[in-house]
Symmetry: C2
Subunit: 229 residues, 2 copies
DNA sequence: AAATATTTGTACGTATGTATA
DNA sequence: TTATACATACGTACAAATATT
């Protein structure tokens, strides 16, 4: 067992005192000088430990004033939204894909709004992901072909659009919208009742200023998102 | 306009080259030595910039081997789940609270399972959050009174349980489950049709090994979660 | 209102350890 | 085995912000 680095030990010590409630929100931490003395180390080492805590949002630091335990954060859930194909496979099922629509066209007004573009060619895809034979999720996707011309040459009947994009197209930002919808007209495809509640995830993916793709995935059954970390 | 710190500039430069796709996943970054030369600075400064990128999960570093652009991550959505009262107020509505149940009891088998405890006193709450007069969310909550005895003395008819807990009880971890449910028996309280799809969030909150509280919130209407950051 | 002292922020240079291609 | 590249940590210095006097 190798000893943890000193800056890690200091960080964890401070972290533990905050987490236990011993040091409440707003409480002032010992100064770097004090911690130097306590741990008999240099200021850089203390600084590294405390800087890490700033990164985690656990403390705030102000010159001259000191370091303070940050106010308790609002709850944040980090949910992983893997490519549907990967998700199905990670559950031990085989991934099946039915390509329902594959249309290249000039962007309609609707496409322009979704992709935040003025015009240009887009690819309009719809597909049903199956876990084995069972319908798993319905996916509707728009791809901005101006930014991703290579998407024209891909056989999306064989390769999951999400997976291909993830592996081939770098993106900088994504925003998500998670909601509950009623299966409605998609019920037959999803193999559920028309009134069945479905989890729906929408994602807009960006590269710097421009939208690469918009996707809306509707999950059949009682699919749930679990937070990680 | 003050100039950004040098380590920030270096970090952002590297970040930009990764984000633009110029440096693809797996590609080796220049060594610290090379970056020192490029920016005419010390190794500590370069190290600080690259360490920050490790924190963001954008690069990986291996001794002797070098620094590498990390594989494209699966999509992650960070969703903020504020206390319901705060959420309603942030929308400019007044928060109303109807306390539907407030029971202190020894933990039932069901409570024990939800809170992962062997027994002991628990508080069982149910309340309806209103935005003005309109039903907004139905909340059912279990509080582990062994860990949070102070909850006995709070008037939850006046103070939102979530807000009180957030402000008074330090926690270390929380896991969430987000799903779509049908309003069903809660339809009347939520003021929606029985077949209305509802977004449901469950949260288990921990302090170190022990569960502090379990809460299940069912939102009326077409409430959606938006990712941040 | 101004000067001062305190505390963190940034950056330098150096040294040694450690994992590994 | 050895050279490489990152990891940790030392000490120092000055800058910037700000609480206190």
């Amino acid at each position: 067992m190798k000893p943890a680095p000193l800056h890690d030990r200091i960080r964890r010590d401070v972290e533990a005192r905050i987490m236990s409630g011993a040091w409440e929100a707003g409480r002032r931490l010992p100064t770097e000088q004090a911690l130097m003395a306590e741990y008999a180390c240099s200021r850089m080492t203390v600084n590294k430990a405390l800087s890490a805590l700033v990164g985690f949002g656990m403390i705030e630091r102000r010159r001259r004033a000191g370091s303070f335990v940050a106010a308790p954060t609002v709850h944040r859930a980090v949910v992983e939204i893997p490519d549907v194909a990967a998700e199905i496979e990670s559950r031990g099922n085989s991934h099946g894909l039915d390509l329902l629509r594959h249309v290249e066209r000039e962007a309609t007004a609707d496409d322009c709004r979704r992709l935040l573009i003025a015009g240009g060619p887009v690819l309009d895809l719809a597909c049903l992901h199956r876990a084995g034979l069972r319908p798993f999720a319905l996916e509707r996707r728009l791809i901005n072909l101006t930014l991703v011309p290579a998407a024209r040459t891909v056989n999306f009947a064989r390769e999951s659009p999400g997976r291909w994009l993830l592996e081939h197209v770098p993106w900088t930002d994504a925003t998500h919208r998670i909601s509950a919808t009623i299966a409605g007209p998609d019920a037959a495809l999803l193999g559920v009742a028309a009134e069945a509640p479905c989890l729906t995830i929408e994602r807009w993916t960006w590269r710097t200023r421009e939208r690469l793709t918009y996707v809306r995935q509707t999950y059949s059954g009682d699919h749930a998102l679990l937070s990680v970390g």
